[in-house]
């Protein structure tokens, strides 16, 4: 009798669980249910823009096709995950300490967010980079896939991306800054005015003494 009296409440609980389950499935990122379809057809995006390419990995692990901005705001969820990012190589190649075969490059996001991530890679992979971004150059745009560490155990806790593959998807270019004499003219004119004022001030002060 007691069990019968509890039956409606059990039924209600069951319905609640099912509704919650259905809701969870509905809001769950679609990439979590990705099937073995071509990558280009399967770039299901969530609101955050996070994507997965399931076709690239021989095992069952995911490769997050993410952005540098997302990695720069990553929490522990992305720690030790395989990711793929695209960015502009900036600065220069920095030698890795006590590790002559490897190096560091800085990858700047190309989505305008200004985020930068440190990429640890072998020197041979970076040979394809023809320009590093600076005032005088736009760096090569590279796609890097590898393992992201929020706290890298190999590099004393730095937040980095260990590259397995690095492909240049757009070559860099020199930025040409031409010399235009007319750009100097307002400055020269004002400089003359300033120097004349300076000289006049000196004369007037000497006159008062």
């Amino acid at each position: 009798m007691k069990a019968l009296r509890k039956a409606p409440s059990l039924l209600a609980s069951l319905v609640t669980v099912m509704v919650a389950g259905a809701f969870a499935l509905g809001v769950c990122p679609t990439w979590a249910w990705a099937e073995d379809t071509p990558f280009s057809q399967n770039l299901a995006t969530t609101d955050g823009g996070n994507r997965v390419n399931p076709s690239q990995m021989p095992d069952s692990s995911f490769l997050y096709d993410t952005s540098i901005m997302e990695l720069s705001q990553a929490d522990s969820y992305l720690n030790n995950q395989r990711v793929q990012v695209v960015g502009e190589a900036v600065g220069e190649r920095i030698n890795a300490e006590f590790d002559p075969d490897n190096c560091w490059i800085s990858l700047k996001s190309t989505d305008g967010s200004d985020s930068v991530i440190a990429v640890y890679t072998s020197k041979s992979l970076t040979e394809a980079i023809d320009h590093y971004g600076s005032y005088n150059a736009t760096g090569s745009t590279v796609q890097v896939s590898g393992t992201f560490y929020l706290v890298c155990p190999q590099h004393e806790g730095v937040s980095d991306l260990h590259a397995d593959a690095l492909n240049v998807i757009a070559l860099g270019a020199d930025r040409v800054h031409g010399f235009h004499f007319e750009a100097f003219l307002p400055g020269i004119a004002l400089l003359i005015v300033g120097l004349v004022l300076f000289w006049m001030f000196r004369r007037m002060r000497e006159g008062q003494r």
């Binding site: 800085s106 929020l150 706290v151 004393e156 300076f198």
Partner: protein, 506 residues
């Protein structure tokens, strides 16, 4: 009695402001020359134009009073207080036209951040900035770190009208030698020597790291200036982390410590009186304060789940601790790591250490260790008085370049500045929170601004809210001049602008 500024006062103040604007013009000549040498033509034309504007404006201001009298204390307060904002307004012009700032206010924020050696940057696309613009950012650190007045005095720009009042009003409390000009020259000489040595070592490290010679020289110079002046700007968006160099990080720890030592104590060491340094109240307070904070910080870091390994803790944690203590703001962890990997306790400890800063009379910001030591001594004095017979006269002394008696005036000054810093932290936090930001982040940002640290966690960003940006600018300004000068100046201007008959007279 409230004394108003009369027309003559305004003319004298204008004259001296003009002299300092000429200094601003000279500052812009540095990136102009570098741009010419490196063939960066657009920055060259921009700095020539802006330097010329400053030259014309400075000279016009000097015409307000051809032969000014010696500055009195009130005039000096107004000159110093206004100079920091007037120079920032001029310095913001070339930065704005670089195209790396969303608005003029952003570039003004950057120039105030540079001049006050806060080092909290909101520049866009730093990695593509010209060398000339970078040079200007670090020139601002150098001049602001040592102080406009110190630089102007050492260059003889006040032509015999140099005044101790000007020197003191720029938050320089003590003279290394009795003569103010000689003191200023000593500060400049010592700083130049230290920066030259540090630059040399840093260039070598940068070359080993793989930078090409030109970039190694420039980066070496810039990082050295930034480290010694406890500024915090770096030429790359990843701060010191960019170089992935343990030798550089260890060396910068040393440089940041050096930058947070008072020039007076450096003078004592310079003259071989090392015992004076070790006996000083600031040194002893620093040792106690850092030991205590390091212990708590280590425990707090270990309580987190990710940053627990000893090499990571030593390399990242200790560097960040020194960076926060010296109010430099260099980073070897990302901002994201500060917020997600550091435990909340460790983050709070960093904020706490940012509040105190380094020695008074150094380039470091914050409340200053001297005041912390004085407040502690005052506490000791109070306890002693309570425990002593009523007829007893309690005398508490401290060592600061000789033995001194703790007087109510010294305690009052320390307490006043301490309270004003706390008030500023609270006001900045409230404004940050009012814009819907996380309270801890808003507090951290507020402390970072007033203490001129520069470790920012994302609230201060390109194109931030107008009023929040204004509050941060004011915080950096008042924090650098340690409140009193600014408050006195504001009261003076308010009283002078108030209609006659409304100001109470005795």
């Amino acid at each position: 009695m409230w004394q108003r500024l009369n027309l003559y006062d305004l003319r004298v103040i204008g004259h001296y402001l003009g002299v300092l604007v000429l200094l601003c013009s000279a500052m812009m000549a540095v990136p102009f020359v570098l741009a010419l040498v490196l063939g960066e033509w657009e920055p060259a034309s921009r700095y020539l134009f802006c330097a010329s504007i400053a030259l014309v404006a400075g000279n016009l201001l000097r015409f307000l009073q051809i032969e000014p009298s010696r500055l009195n204390k009130q005039q000096a307060l107004v000159v110093t207080g206004l100079a920091w904002i007037v120079m920032a307004l001029f310095c913001a012009i070339p930065l704005y036209f670089s195209g790396h700032y969303i608005s003029y206010l952003d570039s003004l924020y950057e120039s105030v951040s540079g001049l006050t050696t806060t080092g909290a940057s909101i520049i866009v696309d730093l990695d593509h900035l010209s060398n000339a613009d970078n040079m200007f950012r670090f020139t601002m650190h150098l001049v602001g770190g040592l102080g406009f007045i110190v630089i102007a005095l050492s260059l003889g720009m006040f032509r015999g009208h140099s005044s101790a009042a000007l020197y003191i009003s720029e938050a320089h409390s003590e003279h290394v030698v009795p003569n103010v000009v000689q003191t200023a020259r000593f500060i400049v000489r010592v700083s130049a020597a230290v920066i030259a040595c540090v630059t040399l070592v840093t260039i070598i490290i940068c070359l080993f790291a793989g930078l090409d010679p030109l970039r190694a020289i420039l980066h070496g110079l810039w990082i050295s200036i930034s480290g010694y002046t406890t500024g915090g700007f770096t030429p790359t968006s990843q701060s010191i982390l960019y170089y992935h160099s343990l030798p550089l990080e260890l060396f910068m720890i040393l440089v940041m410590f050096l930058g947070s030592i008072s020039f007076v104590l450096i003078s004592e060491i310079w003259h071989g009186r090392t015992l004076v340094f070790f006996r000083d109240i600031e040194t002893r307070t620093a040792v106690l304060w850092i030991s205590m904070i390091t212990a708590v910080f280590t425990i707090a870091m270990c309580s987190g789940s990710m940053f627990t390994e000893l090499p990571a803790l030593l390399r990242r944690g200790f560097f960040m601790l020194v960076s926060a203590f010296s109010t430099t703001g260099f980073q070897v962890v990302t901002t994201n790591q500060l917020l997600t990997v550091f435990s909340s306790g460790a983050f709070v400890i960093l904020m706490l250490i940012m509040t105190m800063g380094g020695d008074a009379g150094s380039t470091a910001g914050g409340i200053k260790l001297f005041r912390l030591g004085i407040i502690f001594k005052s506490f000791v004095s109070t306890v002693k008085e309570v425990l002593s017979p009523s007829s007893a006269r309690v005398v508490v002394s401290y060592n600061h370049v000789g033995r001194r008696i703790l007087t109510p005036e010294v305690v009052r000054e320390a307490m006043t500045v301490f309270v004003l810093f706390i008030v500023s932290y609270i006001v900045g936090t409230m404004v940050g929170v009012a814009y819907g930001n996380d309270a801890t982040m808003a507090l951290s940002e507020s402390i970072s601004m007033t203490s001129n640290v520069g470790l920012i966690v994302g609230i201060a960003s390109p194109g931030m809210e107008f009023s929040l940006e204004i509050v941060y600018i004011i915080q950096m300004w008042v924090g650098r001049l340690e409140f009193i000068t600014i408050l006195a100046m504001v009261v003076k201007i308010f009283v002078s602008a108030w209609p006659h008959g409304k100001v109470a007279k005795r």
